[in-house]
Amino acid sequence: MVFMIYLDNPATTKRKPLSVVTSLTKNTLLNSVNAGRGGHKYSIKGAKIVTDTADKLAKLFKISAPERIAFTQNATLALNMAINGILSQGGHAIVTSMEHNSVLRPVNKLGNYTVVYADNEGYVNPEDIKAAIKDDTKLIVCTHASNVSGSIQPIAEIGKIARANGLIFLVDAAQSAGTVDIDVDAMCIDLLAFSGHKSLLGPLGTGGLYVGERARLEPYITGGTGSLSKSLTQPLTLPDMLHSGTLNTPAIAALGRAVDFILKKGSSKILAHERLLAENLINRLDSIDGVSVLGGRDMNKRNGTVAFTVDGMPSEEVSRILAVQYDIATRGGWHCAYLAHKTLGTARHGAVRAGFSYYNSMYDVRALSYAISDIVKNLRAVHF
C-alpha cells in the first residue's frame, strides 16, 4: 500500500474512526437488512439502527424531533430534496456565491433565483441577503462553511432574517457538520442538509436532511416506504416521506458510531485541532513568495480548509505534482464551486485545496509547505 498524506478531506474524509470501520464491516455481515420492510426481527432491528443514528444526530445538531431527520446517500440528494421540495410550486430562491453546484445547479434548473455575492474573503453580508428578498421569495440557501475557502458564514444572522420575513432557511452543512457548532433552533434553520462521509467521519453513501416544522416539503422522490402500501400517493409522515427505497442500514449504523466518536471527542475540540493545522499552514504559505492563500486570516471564521494559488502554475498542475512527486493528496481546479472562485478572484486558474481532518497532524502541514516551497523554487529555476 502506498502511503499518501491525505488532504482531500473536504471531498471525503478517507480515514474513519476504527469503530466506524468495524461497525460497517459487522453490520454488512450481520445486518444487511431492509429496515422497516415486513415484520421479521431483521426488519425491526434495521429500523432501530436507523432511529438510533437519527437520535445521535439530533443530539449533535440540537434537534428536538429526531423523526424529522431523513437519511440520504449524500448531501447532494438532501439538497435536491429540499430545494425541489420547497420550490415545486414555483417561487424565488436566494443563494450565495459561495454555494456548491449541488445548490446552484438545482436552483438554476428551476430558474427563479438571485445570487448574493460574498466579499473577496468569501463572507456573505446578511444585509445583502435581506436586500435580495422579493415578493415571491420562498427560500434562502446558504452554505455553512465554504468548500473552497473554509469561510464560515453568519448563519444565525441569516436565519433571523429568513424567520423575520417568513422564509424557509436551508443550510448546506456538508463542510461543517461534525466540527462547527450547529443548533437548528437557535440558528433558525428550517432545513439542514449534511454529508455523513465528510467531517462527520461516517462511511461513504451517507448523508441526510433535517426538515423543521415550518418547512412544508413536497416529496422529491416517491416510491416504496414499507408503509401505506395500498395508497398510490407518497406518505406525508416523516421520515417515510423522504425514505423511498431501501436504506443503507449498515452505513447508517456506522454513521451512528461516527457521531458517537464526535460527541465523545467534542466537535469544538476537533475544530480547534483542524484550525490549528490550517493556521500553521496559512502562516507557512504566506511566507512563500508567489503563493497566495485565499480567504481571511481570522481563524474563528474559518474551518480547517485552506486553498491557495501558486503564481505561474495552474492549480491542477500543482496538485498533480504534489500527488506524483510528494505523495500528498490535494485537489486542484474549481471544486464544483465556480462562483466561489469568481468571488475569491480565482476564476481563471482555480486553486489548490488542502483540508484537514481529525487525523491529520503538524507533520502533514510541514510536508505540504516544504513541497510547495520546492515546487516554487523549481518553477523559478525553470523561468529564470
Binding site: A35, G36, G38, G39, S43, I44, A47, K48, V50, T51, A54, P66, E67, T225, G226, S227, L228, S229, K230, S231, P235, T237, L238, P239, D240
Partner: protein, 78 residues
C-alpha cells in the same frame, strides 16, 4: 392478559414509541400490523393494561388506532 396494538404510520414512529415504553419498563414490541387497512403499517404491541398510557402518546407518535387482539380476533378499541 389480552394484548393491544397501537397502530402508527411508520416504522420510525413505532420504534420510537416502543423505546418510550421500554424506558418506563413496559414490555413493548414493534410488529407489522396484522390486517392493516392502509396496507403495511407498524404497531406497538403491549398489554391491555397499558392502554391509558398508550393513549397519552396519540399525538406525539401519531397513533392511528388501538386494536385489541383476543381469541375472537382483532377489533378497533380506540
Amino acid at each position: 392478559m389480552p394484548q393491544i396494538y397501537a397502530e402508527v404510520g411508520s416504522i420510525t414512529m413505532a420504534t420510537r414509541l416502543s423505546k418510550e415504553l421500554s424506558a418506563q419498563k413496559i414490555k413493548a414490541e414493534v410488529i407489522h400490523t396484522p390486517n392493516s387497512t392502509s396496507g403495511c403499517s407498524y404497531s406497538v404491541k403491549t398489554d391491555e393494561k397499558y392502554k391509558d398510557i398508550l393513549t397519552k402518546y396519540t399525538a406525539r407518535y401519531k397513533i392511528k388506532r388501538i386494536i385489541k387482539s383476543d381469541s375472537d380476533g382483532f377489533y378497533d378499541i380506540s
